[in-house]
Amino acid sequence: MSIFGLKDLGTKIAITALCFSLIPLIGLGVTMYSMFASAYHTKVRANLITLAENKRQGIDLFLREQVAQLRTVAYSHSVDELSSQDKLDSILTTMQLGSRTFIDVGLINEEGMHVSYSGPYNLYQANYKNEDWFNQVMVRKIYVSDVFEGFRGFPHMVIAIKKQEKGRVWILRATIDSDIFDSLVRWLQIGDSGDAYLVNRAGDLQTRPRFGNKSKDVYASFLGSPFSGARTAEFESQKRKIFVGGIWLEQKDWLLVIEEDMRGELQPLFETQAATWAVVGSGIAFIIIGTLLITRMIVAQQDRSNREQAQLNEELIQSSKMAALGKLAAGVAHEVNNPLAVIREKAGWMRDLLEEEDVGKSPNFQEFEDAVDKIEQHVERAGNVVHRMLGFARRMEPVCNDLYVNDILKQTTAFLDNEIRFRNIELVWNLASDLPTIQSDAAQIQQVILNLFNNAIDAIDRNGHITVTTGYDAVMEMVSISLRDDGPGMDKDVQKRIFDPFFTTKKVGEGTGLGLSISYSIINKLGGSIRFESEEGQGTEFVIHLPVKHHDRKE
């Protein structure tokens, strides 16, 4: 598989993993946040409603108390007493004992003229007959007015009680200080920019809000006919967003409006939002880093196993080549050996005849004799090639004995002593002393070693070194044999093909090209491996690994 293919695989894994982990994470973040936001909005509105109801109760209570106080004064005193200036002064003083809510108090007759008055203003000449509140109280007995400026030119509200005595109608009227009322309404404010104020049914302000210049739009939706309970709305102006709560008073047809700044109220929500994004963001970063790491690991692993697979495939191809050649050799051997046998016998017969007849005197006798010799010689050669090919066809189980590799090496080189000396090659021994004995086939190993030595000698030709090294790998339980020559080495093309059957660099007739193929096949069958390293001009090293314990290798 190409590297591009692996990268492509990595990208696919990364994208898939990211999709499957990031989408749920983001979904979770968004869902959690929106659920929290809606719950928090509900909670804030509920708080606003509770606040509005509490405040309305307070204001209602205040108004009821003032009305009750004035009614007590009206009904517990006779008109004569109320008409007396001194008495009225003392009544006002008594009323103002608790709080300075009442500014003044006055008794008015049915013509709208003051009979008596106690307070800071000079209102004796005032006639209220045409005032709205005067007409209202004549009808309703008790009347609480809107805030108005009246004769005194100062905002105030009036509570008036109708009283009937001596067959006439009297009205006791008291004025409530609008400052005190304002502060009562404003008493409970929330946040830095919260506000509370009263408006009448027409939408006119009845108390001074904390921040002036109220737009009617803020509470427009609550106006109209009074409703029971509190309502909330959200109002958005260019400058700010607010929650608005509205509730109608019970004592008077006034609307209590409470404003709360959304930003102040929703501060925890904004904090939650920031925290949510921080958590989700760091989660995303974590997942991306993790995914990249894992992807890289998987790709590396895949790459490694691909390479191992490729190597395994190469080995499989090599051994299947061997197996195919083995079968071919077995088939060919029979077909070739039989004609060879016939040729040989025919040549032998010719020789027999040459000896029998009196052709010895023929001038061509020597030529016949030589021809027969050559025929026999080349039949022998062809027979040898076929017999070596048959090495592949052998399916005999290796004969396993305990053997000591160092001994085998020594024995094998004994065969080559003459040739090595003749060619002035020096053998360098580098044998490990701690080698275990191995279970293997001595004859077959000897064949391989002999083949490798022959190749090394041929490569060096004259004047060189062959270094023989043995070693033991305790972990793999493998004994290694290394043969290094300082011959000319092999070029890359040769290296690729040295294990191929019939590949040879030797002259025609000198090598069959089967030595290394057979060696490969033998070592393979013995459960070992044979590798080589070669560099042009540096020489070649063959390394054989053989298992200490023999085990069959399935082919």
């Binding site: 077995a330 046998a341 399916r395």
Partner: protein, 137 residues
């Protein structure tokens, strides 16, 4: 290989009697002629069945038997021969290499296993040895 120790020129049947069995007609023909020249009493046949028939007719000391033959192969023929005439020595001759076949042959009582192409000298020597061993038993 050369074989030059031939003292007898004319066929004189003083040696052991040999039956050569091989489906290769040329091979049988030539081997028969050459062995006869070396004093054997030789007969050649082309198949395992013919060999068994011939053995039924005539007594032989040694059988030289090809392993790979169409029809009844060498190993089968060897078993039949050894069952009927256990004293007859059989030399297996095969163009199909491999020790396995040889081992099987030896297990069924063959005297030797030779690989084609083989020099006549070896055939002659082996045949004599087989004959002598058969005679001793």
């Amino acid at each position: 290989m050369t074989e030059k120790n031939n003292s007898q020129i004319a066929p004189v049947h003083t040696g052991p009697s040999v039956l050569v069995v091989d489906d290769e007609q040329d091979f049988v023909e030539t081997l028969v002629k050459r062995l006869e020249r070396r004093g054997f009493k030789v007969t050649g046949v082309g198949s395992g069945q013919d060999a068994l028939l011939k053995l039924g007719e005539t007594k032989f000391d040694v059988v030289i038997l090809d392993v790979m033959m169409p029809g009844m192969d060498g190993i089968e023929t060897l078993r039949e021969i050894k069952l009927a005439w256990p004293k007859i020595q059989v030399i297996l001759l095969s163009g199909h290499g491999g020790e396995e076949m040889g081992m099987r042959g030896m297990a069924y009582g063959a005297y030797a296993y030779l690989l084609k192409p083989v020099s006549l000298k070896i055939v002659v020597e082996t045949a004599y040895m087989a004959f002598e061993e058969g005679g001793l038993r």
